[in-house]
Subunit: 143 residues, 2 copies
DNA sequence: TTCAATGCAAAAGTTTTGCACCTCT
DNA sequence: AGAGGTGCAAAACTTTTGCATTGAA
């Protein structure tokens, strides 16, 4: 908790219980939740928290590089506290979104034999398909 | 025009002026428009066209593999008549979205030295940065 | 003729905004 | 004390849906 407050302070943000709660949640989850999910989760421990504050907080965090917004084609954006550029997988079967640790699929634009005329700031790779768990299940439920 | 009707028919779709208009527009643009833009563009030549029909049409097309949905983190989805998996660039300066023809950045998951435990159906690479035009301009307008 | 597509309007869902009040510093 | 954050409600946007009417086969 103390550390989170420190991080926020260093970014020039006023430290509030709401901001600490949102950042801590994102640090400790692998689920890449959207704003609604963050709100519902924190509601339990922070009953006065409002959805608008979650949105405003995520917006600040995004601007300051504390979180990364991820858009996999659902109605809403997901958030990731891992801000370093890294690929994601999206299971078209169960809907899970995961970080993918794979050097061959990271920093692709820096490995090109011929440079692009496009100056890359950030690259985002999303692999859509079937996660290991759903491959095992191999059920039609997925289609 | 005749060819477009043919394509729709082959997909089992009833051929209507609205569907022909939407598909033709997507075939002839490089701008990766969203539903609203498609609607506004076609409104001129198809005054009775409704936005709901554009959405419904895009949905059919997506399902049948006639178009690809592209989500670059704006409020709305963009559409591309090039359905083959290929990388895109998004200029953080002027907002333009372009197809990127680069073999090194295409079919990445098929070139891995070690296979993933994730079964890839489709990969989507988006490069965010500055397009050639905006690099030339090199104006603060972009930030 | 028949079934599906269209257009309209209303609804649903996500995100933003304005403002009075509250809270960190 | 003062700047800035929070919560609420309303608004703004994007997308979906229901239904009567229209149009393609």
């Amino acid at each position: 908790m103390k550390e989170t407050a420190q991080v926020l302070r260093e970014k020039g943000l006023k430290v509030t219980p709401q901001r600490i709660a949102v950042y801590n949640m994102l640090l400790h989850t692998q689920s890449h939740p959207n704003a609604e999910t963050i709100y519902r989760t924190l509601e339990v421990t922070n009953p006065t928290m409002s959805l608008a504050t979650v949105y405003k907080t995520l917006d600040y965090f995004k601007q300051l590089g504390l979180v990364q917004e991820l858009n996999v084609g659902e109605g809403s954006a997901r958030y990731d506290a891992v801000v370093r550029c890294h690929p994601h997988t999206v299971c078209t079967c169960c809907g899970s979104v995961s970080d993918l640790e794979n050097d061959e699929l990271t920093n692709l634009h820096q490995k090109l034999s011929t440079p692009l005329d496009f100056q890359v700031e950030c690259e985002q790779l999303i692999l859509y398909g079937k996660c290991a768990k759903c491959q095992m299940a191999e059920q039609e439920a997925c289609e």
